[in-house]
């Protein structure tokens, strides 16, 4: 039924309310696309609540605006590289911001998560440290490695 799924950019357009009726309808009826869309909305919520402000140097801002202006006249698909870069930045920041408990974790957290993963319990998406869309043993390992890290980011 839903053979063709929406791309990340199309899903982001749905999230932003700028998608076509067809794409919006697909996102509402396709469970996989709906799940991806929910993830995007979750990231948006997290970023908004994080209240992170990044100052962009004027030179870079002017270059981007000038580039966007030139590309706007070049064709309707010219925004794709810029949107892709923005989506990548969005994802990286979201992953960084989404780390649970701000790295204040220990082995007991890893153990508790391992037990929940093992029992098949529903686990909060914030524990998806690897960003692969599922919370599994890889995320448990990630917490455990963080717990034993000697770097200043550790929990000592």
């Amino acid at each position: 039924m839903n053979e063709k799924h929406l791309t990340l950019l199309e899903l982001d357009a749905v999230r932003a309310g700028e998608a076509s009726l067809e794409d919006r309808a697909h996102a509402e009826t396709c469970p996989e696309c709906r799940a991806e869309l929910d993830q995007l909305r979750l990231l948006e919520t997290r970023l908004k609540s994080a209240a992170v402000r990044v100052e962009v140097p004027d030179s870079i801002r002017h270059a981007i605006l000038a580039s966007a202006s030139r590309r706007r006249t070049a064709g309707s698909w010219a925004w794709i590289p810029l949107a892709t870069a923005a989506a990548a930045l969005f994802g990286i920041v979201a992953l960084w911001m989404g780390r649970p408990a701000d790295r204040n974790v220990d082995i007991v957290d890893a153990y508790a998560l391992a037990m929940r993963v093992r029992s098949g319990e529903n686990v909060d998406a914030k524990w998806d440290l690897t960003g692969d869309g599922i919370v599994d043993r890889k995320d448990v390992d990630s917490i455990a490695r963080e717990a034993v890290a000697l770097s200043p980011r550790g929990n000592r």
Partner: protein
């Protein structure tokens, strides 16, 4: 002049032999005592004095037979954090040999160990003690 460098050469030989005699390898078992509680997870920190370097880590007894989590950056250094857990039923109680750490010592080495976190089966945090037990060396 022909033998002028001979004393220096002999001194060098003596110093080298002395270094070899002072450098030795030793291993300590890391034993965590959870008392009456089960030990389903532990995290301990081990610190060595300047006369000792960490050169290896291995597991202990079941269910902690696999090498624990640790930061590879700890090797060749004097501080390490070890951690492991088991989700299998029947976690052990009492004193459990959870890991073995190998050191290279160049003098009279001193070690300290402390439990950073421990949990019983089910996830309840517990108080536990840790001891380092020398197992031998050469």
């Amino acid at each position: 002049m022909r033998f002028a460098l001979l004393p220096i050469f002999l001194l060098g030989l003596c110093a080298s032999a002395q270094d070899e005699a002072q450098t030795r390898f030793t291993a300590y078992d890391v034993v965590v005592d959870a008392g009456a509680a089960t030990l389903a997870a532990y995290q301990v920190e081990i610190t060595a004095g300047p006369e000792s370097k960490i050169v290896g880590v291995e597991g202990g007894e079941k269910p902690y037979a696999d090498a624990p989590y640790y930061d590879p950056a700890a090797l060749q250094g004097g501080r390490i954090i070890l951690a492991a857990f088991t989700t299998e039923p029947g976690a052990p109680t009492g004193k459990v040999r959870v890991a073995r750490v190998h050191f290279q010592e160049t003098g009279t080495a001193k070690y300290t160990a402390r439990v950073m976190a421990a949990a019983a089966a089910g996830g309840e945090r517990i108080e536990a003690q840790v001891a380092l037990v020398q197992t031998g060396g050469k």
